[in-house]
Symmetry: C2
Subunit: 239 residues, 2 copies
């Protein structure tokens, strides 16, 4: 049987939630197409979102095609990929825990997004700037320290270097992306907050300097954070 290449579908111009899948595929050295970034790829992605494809209907990108399977929801995609590529330990307890942490990271990602879109994802930031300022203030004061402190506590209860087990897992890769995105969006808040989470900061730096990942991060396949994505830098939200 020929090896089936993964097909990732995600918005072509932002790292967004697709990047969590991309990081796992890149770290694993897996062969994949980044379909919506190819010529006419958006047409293919739209057709699948409109239900003009076989397999499971996704509610939204990202989704992954693997053979006849269509898999949506970031944490679900990662849970599918990880055991196939040694990105999670073998034991059930570890896998359940990895998924728990990944879903908690997903909650943090959603809250980070809502700092600039507290009213409606379909409206421009400029149409909800006042609400965004209130929400971002609460996020920085209450939620950010709570989430980061939680991840630091998890590292403290483990080997101090990995969120799950004693090798790099997909959860570490996702944590790298989340902390990097938060640093991009809220440099002032993160400068202060990072001091209290030294283990998490080190984890981020270690993942970044991993040889395979460093090559990817320097490549054109990596999409830079920008003001269309989830982690946006608006200085007025990071006073």
């Amino acid at each position: 049987m020929a090896r089936v290449t993964y097909e990732l579908y995600y918005w072509p111009e932002i790292p967004g939630r697709g990047e969590f899948v991309r990081l796992a595929l890149e770290y694993a050295g897996a062969a994949y197409r980044d379909v919506a970034r190819e010529r006419n790829g958006m047409v293919e992605m739209t057709a699948l979102l409109d239900g003009r494809g076989s397999g499971a209907l996704p509610f939204a990108p990202p989704f992954l095609k693997h053979g006849r399977l269509v898999i949506a929801q970031t944490a679900n995609i990662l849970q599918y990929l990880a055991p196939r590529h040694g990105l999670v330990p073998k034991s059930d307890a570890h896998r359940v825990f990895a998924n728990q942490l990944q879903l908690t990271l997903a909650d943090l990602v959603a809250e980070a997004h809502d700092t600039h879109h507290p009213v409606a994802a379909g409206l421009y930031y400029e149409e909800q700037r006042r609400e965004a300022k209130r929400r971002a203030r609460d996020f920085i004061a209450e939620r950010l320290p709570k989430f980061l402190g939680y991840l630091e506590a998890i590292l403290g209860r483990g080997d101090g270097k990995h969120l799950v087990g004693t090798k790099t897992t997909y959860v570490d890769l996702s944590a790298f992306q989340v902390v990097s995105g938060l640093r991009y969006a809220f440099p002032n808040a993160m400068r202060r907050a990072s001091k209290r989470v030294p283990k998490l900061s080190k984890l981020r730096d270690r993942v970044e300097s991993d040889a395979r990942l460093a090559a990817y991060l320097a490549s054109p396949r990596r999409i830079a954070f920008n003001e269309q994505g989830i982690f946006r830098h608006y200085p007025e939200l990071d006073a």
Copy 2:
């Protein structure tokens, strides 16, 4: 080996996210303790949330203890329980799809919550009423029809009665709770929206009238929707 009873931990006065787990346990006829609703149960729950317990540290309730395992995140708990109680088909493809749908329901639940708390979960509704009105308007006009239409499409692509496979799964039970909650919170909007999702409405009614579940729903174990929970009825948000 003695049969180990599940221990569910969740806020005692709201259905909230704990109810999705409760519905699965009740439908399965599984033995469980609803710990935080017992005398001194909140002390136990707080101790575990503060890290004074063994096993995985939860970020927030609900979490489930089963033997030495501590499992947090609603979709993760359900994914753990379902195969043990015949609440999901056996094939990997079905299980991946069930988890995908459950995570999409979780997104809908989070958005429904944020209609009354668009600024900060830690502030009172009354402190964010103006923002809530804007967010609820968008939720009703854009998000609600999109989510409900998606679930209806999934039913249309399946057997018309079940979201996954051809028997009641935990995803159907969760969909029952979500549609019920939305009807409670937004009776006007749901009266209009329900006409366009007849299969989903029927699924909700069928689950409600299931004999085992009907007994549970009539019992004191079932917590009614209320204005401390996720689905709150504020008439001004349902114009």
